[in-house]
Symmetry: D2
Subunit: 359 residues, 4 copies
């Protein structure tokens, strides 16, 4: 018998810059093509602090907005016209839903929808420009739902976009080939997932660079062949050394550091590719000479796209990539501010911190 | 001042197999994200006879269904949530609107939506599985609308999918390169547009094959470098002769003939590509040896996709491709059955026949 | 101290149709850009019987030609201008060397060199149009050499093109994406390698079809998720069942059977891809309707290309794909005819049979 | 009767930094796979001054080296193993010949050959690391030869790499689509050719930016839809204005200016692409935020590749692109230093300057 849905729920409401408060609010109702999800896990992402400061473009006004965009849960109600999902389904979600009809959406590029942030066009960016998962319940459009295999836990599934973002980053580069070498810059959640993903896709030499020994150690455990502490070793030299002086086939910049972004352009072999996932928030100074003379290619990536969450969940279910080594802390919804502090200040070796809104 | 919209209109209603009747019916109202179009031109397509026979998968029951899927007109009313279009806009339409959230739609492949024909999912195939343009008015989702430049007439714009289909066929092959050679099989509307399009995209040698002298002559006029009457000359030999025995870079099969489809596999140079636009309605017998040993590639194409109507209209406006040489006849809506007969029996050299529902 | 190179060696010389004789012949000398290899392992390939019958295009005259094209060994001498290889290097070879300057070679498509079989242009197809590896020594151009990691044995390395051919087949399809589903048709050496390779590249559901229980069992052991005995089960239905009625993302036809080639076109999901590796030596009858309406794509593949042997060897070394489960028999060079009979008649469950020309 | 080849010829020999002298030297002899060309036209390229300063990596020692790499002429002798060319053929050449067997060459990326500058490996970069076309005769490997159609003059053909470089730049971006918008930065020879090429390949809106009115005027004449004098107008704003605030599909940076390279990253629409042809010789400071958040892609290009000279010559012959509007001056070989000065100082509106070594 389906669980009864309450009228009220707890949600973390953004009441002002850096002022996230647990409030009792109405449980939302699913409109056509929408479902109501009971949120079982919502992970904290590197972009959450920006949102919580109130600095995200097109974010809703303070007082009525709940952030959180990496979540999973169980469908407890479905709106009209929902045919592929039913009450009881365990689902992970992706954050972007395009308008569906702009020039980019029609080419499958819904993460860069030209109607970004305009809810009236049908666009949604859950947890950014519309309510998200730091709540007991949330409504999501069917476009953002992915069924979870029985052997994947909610906590893992909440990290699906971490993997899908890297998946899509590789799509934007034209794919990864089996037997290629990859440098992953930055051993944060995305970097640690990138290491696993490129290994699962056939990379045979993966070099992970970073500054924190504890994270590099996790990188080693999840498959990095070479780890480089950039406080002790020059990362460009380390990459060259690990590749007989040739450079790598692919660089994946995950750190968002200015220095790493600059170095990324010097690491590929002639004809190599660079994926920029991290946003270095400040101008970078790049020597483009190598880029031009060596026919390098680069691609940015905003986030998961092309339905890659489905493919990422398949790899979770097959055991080829793992979220658990990245999840260091979990908190109940009430402790969302402690959770955020733990994540942001990397307290106690925090890598990925997950909220459990329903206990 | 906007034109008054009547309550009733004339429409060609499919009342039974091959039984298309002009009826007076209600003018439809646009729902959210939809507009009402006053149809100025609706061209007859090669798939219309199949629909009018009642043989299209998922087509609506007889008695309440209006076919016609190649049309253009003027927006006379907009439904809720329409922000990019307004009353007065001149628009061309494309026939497919995907559900927007299945695996294929999310990759931009809405013409092969996995929810094809299920209107409740949001899918639409105008003139096939929902009402189309053989009527004075029609509603269309914003996803299917493309603004027409001032210098493009309604009749021309009605043929946008003829061009977009070839555009998308090339997309599915990975694109055309400047300076390549192309064999176009079949001098029907699609073939004659293909000749123009590949020329506009940089092909330097285009060979057109067919059986009708009059159509081949049009092909020559619109840019074919070599025309081959296959009643007089073996088309494979003709292609080889025109390419110093190497074969062409690209074959575009537009005829839907079994024989042409079979020959298409023997025409490319080593490493060449084959686009199959025509559906040969019967099994074809192919020698795959060359396909395997010469690393050939082939791609099918259902119809226009990826928003290629926009790109096709840009080429119309720039004068790089032309619809007018293909339009041989126009008829008022009342004469829809004569128009169909003219088209199907190619009476009086008919190539493309256009209906004018509003005079 | 480098080993002394003898003046004479044993080689299997093709003296007439199906008449392979062990002869004493001169050890060849490497020309510029060539090396002399002491052959340690040479595997029998499915195309060898055609060559030994004398039916390969451009093959040398009987009496002076040694076949064999899947081999590995040690460099014992280098010709002028060889700078990247030295005496003592353990190498695997690929069979194709393009002329290097035709239109295809300049695009990296040397397996479909336009100067195929013309030795005077610099083209080589070792074991087909020039001497190969059923001999104690062989000369190879540096273009065909790949260093073997210490942890890869000669027997394994001899199978590198079996893997590289599948690698290249995927390249020709535009790559495999992590989390995709794949049907592999035919559990011969290529099919059994394909199963492993697509798993190593992130496929999460692999369906292997065939007729021999023993080979399907090996398929299961090397990673197939579903095996289908097509004598007991309809393969198209089995594929649909395993994919919730959707069809697979990718079909790889490895059997060369007419029936399998025909069925391959019915197995993909809408928008799926088909790789044709097997050459069905007779015309196949295909219903192209699905191909056209579902935007399917297909690509043939002649053999290993694009330097994919390097990437395949990297996967061998990383333990991600394995050759040993496929190698059922080894023979000394003297027993080459017994080896061929064992392979061709699949005696004693033979899958891959390897010759050891130097004991 | 073939022309008699003299033993001695005139050549511009680089005798020291910026010290180019006309000398009498031996006419070279073609080795296997080489031909001897009587040079009819050799254009000056933007990289020539660097070479003439002596600053190119791996360039030969002063005293025995003749630069010049954009040339055309007639074959007057052929070496051994040349089968596709004969005495009397009119040919254009490309500058790069890869070793043919390194990892990049085997993927068709011979312009970024891993054995660059090592002549003993078979690599050649004519006019850079081996003798070029500022001479009456030159030897070239068959890999670098392209036959010229009868309707293309030697002067035009000498500019083939100017076009092929842009062709290859587009290849590296994944191609241009018909109906796309393009910003070309820099109205030098490459920019003016880029304008023509993208128009020939179906671009419908081309915006050309630069500082020199005379060159912008030529740009207008050869097809630019919008020209922008960046001394009078902000180029980013101008691009936005011309594209309804969306940005262009493709930016091609041809100027080599630091400022232009920086601005190139701000001009594409969401999901757009950037080609970097110009080498900005100094670090550029780029805001990568848009690159990451808008899924932009960029590709560098060293020079013509993939045999694109063939495709470019086909477009010359078809009249789709023209070299003549770019050729402002011609000089005999004796005046090579005046020619260089004219080119470098843009004397008398010089755009492209061509040397005629044989009168």
């Amino acid at each position: 018998m389906p669980e009864k849905i309450p009228e009220k729920m707890k949600a973390a409401v953004l009441c002002g810059p850096d002022d996230l408060q647990i409030k009792e609010v109405d449980v939302p109702s699913p409109a056509p093509f929408e479902v109501l999800i009971k949120v079982m896990a919502c992970a904290i992402c590197g972009s959450d602090p920006t949102v919580i400061k109130g600095n995200w473009p097109n974010q809703p006004p303070f007082g009525g907005f709940t952030p959180g965009h990496e979540y999973s849960g169980q469908i407890v109600a479905v709106g009209p016209n929902v045919i592929n999902f039913k009450v009881g389904d365990r689902v992970a979600i992706e954050t972007h839903k395009g308008c569906g009809y702009c020039e980019n959406c029609k080419r499958g590029k819904y993460t860069i929808c030209l109607n970004y942030g305009k809810n009236e066009t049908g666009h949604r960016h859950y947890g950014f420009t519309t309510n998200g998962g730091y709540a007991q319940y949330v409504v999501n459009h069917v476009s953002t739902l992915y069924k979870i295999a029985d052997n994947v836990e909610f906590d893992e599934a909440a990290l699906v976009t971490t993997a899908a973002c890297v998946h899509f980053a590789l799509d934007n580069l034209g794919g990864l080939l089996g037997g290629e070498s990859v440098a992953v810059l930055g051993p944060g959640p995305i970097g640690l997932m990138a290491v696993q993903l490129v290994k699962a896709l056939g990379a045979t030499k993966v070099i992970l660079t970073g500054t924190r020994e504890s994270r590099l150690k996790v990188g080693k455990e999840v498959g990095a062949d070479v780890i480089v502490d950039i406080n002790k070793e020059d990362p460009i030299e380390a990459v060259m050394k690990a590749t007989d002086g040739m450079g790598v086939d692919v660089v994946i910049e995950c750190s968002g550091s200015k220095k790493a972004a600059e170095e990324a352009f010097q690491m590929p072999k002639r004809g190599g590719r660079i994926s920029l996932i991290g946003d270095p928030h400040e101008p970078v100074t790049v020597n483009l000479r190598k880029f031009v003379l060596d026919d390098l290619r680069a691609a940015g990536v905003r986030g998961e796209g092309m339905g890659d969450c489905k493919r990422s969940l398949a790899l979770f279910s097959a055991g080829k990539i793992k979220a658990k080594p990245l999840i260091t802390h979990t908190f109940p919804l009430e402790d969302v501010n402690i959770a955020l502090k733990t994540y942001m200040e990397r307290i106690d070796g925090a890598i990925k911190v997950v909220i459990h809104p329903n206990g």
